[in-house]
Symmetry: C2
Subunit: 199 residues, 2 copies
């Protein structure tokens, strides 16, 4: 015998599909919704529909936006000669938090991953190449994640771009600021040694 | 400068309000919704509204239901003489999973907790007393949580009910089946000793 009404079970299933949400947490969330007042529940449902309907990809950098061209691409104060290539929209947010980078971005929306059947045509590589045709861009900074797939994607793209006469660079590897040397893994230490600089 | 469209930030805020969901998880969930197709996002939003609009409390036992009287209360095969009093709807689900109890339930929707300004009138005590007036019920099993507030609530209710000539019992305390004695806390062991039975 079912112990809860079908609508509660359906809502639990929906929460259960979210990343990192198990069945018990999903059930807690469903009960939380039941405890909301009508206006709160409608605001929640509306937020889902709004996000889905108003958010699209910037036609230049492919970052999420609710305009045709995002606020970074349309900002004349940003350096139009440099593009930082990242995997996901949240990587743009991370870079912006550092308040150091003043150029443009390009969001790939994924990495090349043969094991997951993701090839170069499944991520926004073509769109990146299209932005290089008019010669404005002189440097591409690869900022994919420092894992196997991120590396492979960066290598693939840099090989496509270099023949166009555009400089391709990569974020530095090394020990994270504020960390402790004894906890650094061997590969990171090796890269930090390779990349050592005169002080 | 905001890095995400307002609709994404609003959806992140909504997820952030759910129990046990921090900002980073909420952001992941919001991106997950953006990755859904339209039908999936609409099903999710609709599930929230449906749960909120169709689910109400059973007019007898106060458990969640989408009917006037829930499926347990309207089942003639359940023992009409016993009511098990629990704190929350999910406690009914837990009891039902044990497949041992064949009586009715009463869901209090909370416990008496002066520190949180919850008094006897804020939980469904009145409704419980109303179910005892016709003399059908001969036993009330208190199954509130074995913590201070659950205990106090059980004591308060049992004092109200006993004058009506209805037997009031409580779930047994003791060591959980499958656990190890060495890890049992002192209070549980004391209660297990007190409640020892001849074998």
């Amino acid at each position: 015998m079912r112990s809860f009404p079908a609508a509660v079970e359906r809502l639990t299933e929906q929460f259960n599909k979210l990343p990192g949400v198990g069945f018990k947490s999903a059930q807690r969330m469903a009960f939380h919704v039941l405890g909301m007042n009508d206006a709160q529940a409608e605001a929640f449902a509306q937020a889902i529909l709004d996000a889905k309907h108003t958010v699209k990809c910037c036609e230049k950098c492919q970052n999420l936006t609710d305009m045709e061209v995002c606020s970074i691409c349309s900002d004349p104060g940003r350096d139009q000669n440099v593009i930082c290539v990242v995997t996901e929209p949240r990587d743009v947010a991370a870079m912006e938090r550092a308040r150091e980078y003043k150029g443009l971005y390009h969001v790939l929306h994924g990495v090349i991953s043969p094991i997951n059947h993701v090839g170069p045509d499944d991520i926004r590589v073509k769109e990146l190449l299209g932005r290089l045709s008019d010669g404005t861009v002189t440097e591409i900074i690869m900022a994919t994640n420092p894992d196997t797939e991120g590396e492979a994607t960066a290598m693939y793209i840099s090989r496509l771009i270099r023949p166009l006469g555009v400089k391709v660079t990569r974020l530095a590897y090394g020990i994270p600021v504020g960390s402790q040397l004894e906890y650094a893994d061997e590969v990171t230490l090796m890269r930090a040694l390779e990349g050592r600089r005169e002080i």
